[in-house]
Symmetry: C2
Subunit: 201 residues, 2 copies
Amino acid sequence: MRLWHNPASPFARKVRIVARETGLLPRIEEITAMVSPVSPNTDLAARNPLVKIPALETNDGKVLYDSSVICEYLDSLHNVERLIPSDAARWDALRLQSLCDGILDAAVLCRYETFVRPEPYRWNDWIKGQFTKINNGLDALAAEAPAWGAGFGIGQVGAVCVLGYLDFRFADENWRASRPRLAQWYTSVVSRGSVTATMPA
Amino acid sequence: MRLWHNPASPFARKVRIVARETGLLPRIEEITAMVSPVSPNTDLAARNPLVKIPALETNDGKVLYDSSVICEYLDSLHNVERLIPSDAARWDALRLQSLCDGILDAAVLCRYETFVRPEPYRWNDWIKGQFTKINNGLDALAAEAPAWGAGFGIGQVGAVCVLGYLDFRFADENWRASRPRLAQWYTSVVSRGSVTATMPA
C-alpha cells in the first residue's frame, strides 16, 4: 500500500499512528507530498480529486480517503485489538473521532487564515469563530479524558493529533493552562512509540 | 431521537435522506437550527461543542456527529437494505461519501467566502482553489456515475446533496454543462421521495 502524507498534516498523522499501532507499517510505503489550498499538487490530484492528504492506494490499485475511511480500512486488515469497536462502543468512538476532526478542521482553517492568506484579506471574526470551536472542543475533550483510562482507540488517536498540532502551530494559545486533566492524559501517551515516531517538528 | 438540522445544510440533508430511505423518519424529531461560523448557536453548542449541524440526540441521551457517523448509526437501526455495505464494497462506498463531503466542504467554504465574509476580506485565489476541488470532484463523480445503475447507497446520497447544493447556491456555475452523464443520473434520482422532501429552496 502507498500512503500520501505530509509530516505537518494532523489528518495524515491519524493514519500514520494507526499504521503503527496495528503493526501494518511494514506493508505501507509512506510518500511525502506537499499540498496547498491555492496551488494543487498534480501527482496527488491524479489519485484524489480533492487533492488532499492523507490518501491511501491499496494493493488492488484503489485510492481511499479521507483519514477516517483510511483508518477504518487499515483497522480491518489486522488481528490485534481493533481501534474502532464494532459493538455498542462504536458510536462513541466515532463521535470522539469526529470531535477531534472538527477541532482540527477549525485549527487548519485558522492556520490558512493567519499564514497562507495575504494579510489584507484576513478577517478577525472568522479566526475568533474558529477558535471558539477549538476551545469548546478542547473543553469537551478535557471533560472526557479522565474516563479514557489506558484505552487507546481511534478517538484517542484523534486527540493526540489535535494536541500535537496545537503545540506545533499554536503553542502561544497554551491549551494546557485551563485543562490540567487533558494535559495529564497527553503526558501519559506522548512517549508511546506511534506518537513519538509521528510527532510534527 | 432528535435531529438538529437546517434545510439549507447539505450535510444535514444527507442524514435526512437516510432517515427517509430507511423508514426511520417517524422515530426522529427534526429540529431546525440556525448556525453561523462567526456567531455560535448556544442551544446547539450545549450538545455539540463544534456547534455544527447535523447533530443527533439518541434515545439514550447521547449526541452523535458528524453526518457520516449519524448516517452509519441510523443505518444500523433498520432492517431494509443497508445504505453502507459491510462487505468489500464498503470501502468504495465510504470513499465516494468522502469525495462528496470534500466537494461540499469546498462549496460551503466558497459560500462563506462570497456571502458571509465582508467584501474587503475576500481572497480570489482561495475561491479559485476551492473551485478547483469542486470541479475536479464533479469530474470524478461524472466518470463514476454511469456505473451506479439503480443503486442508491451512501455515496449516491452524498452525490444528491452535492448537486442539489450547487443548484441551490451556485446555479450560475452550471455544473451540468460539461457533465451530461452526471446530469442524466441526477435526473433519474431527483424525483425520489427522500430527495424531493429534502430539496433546499
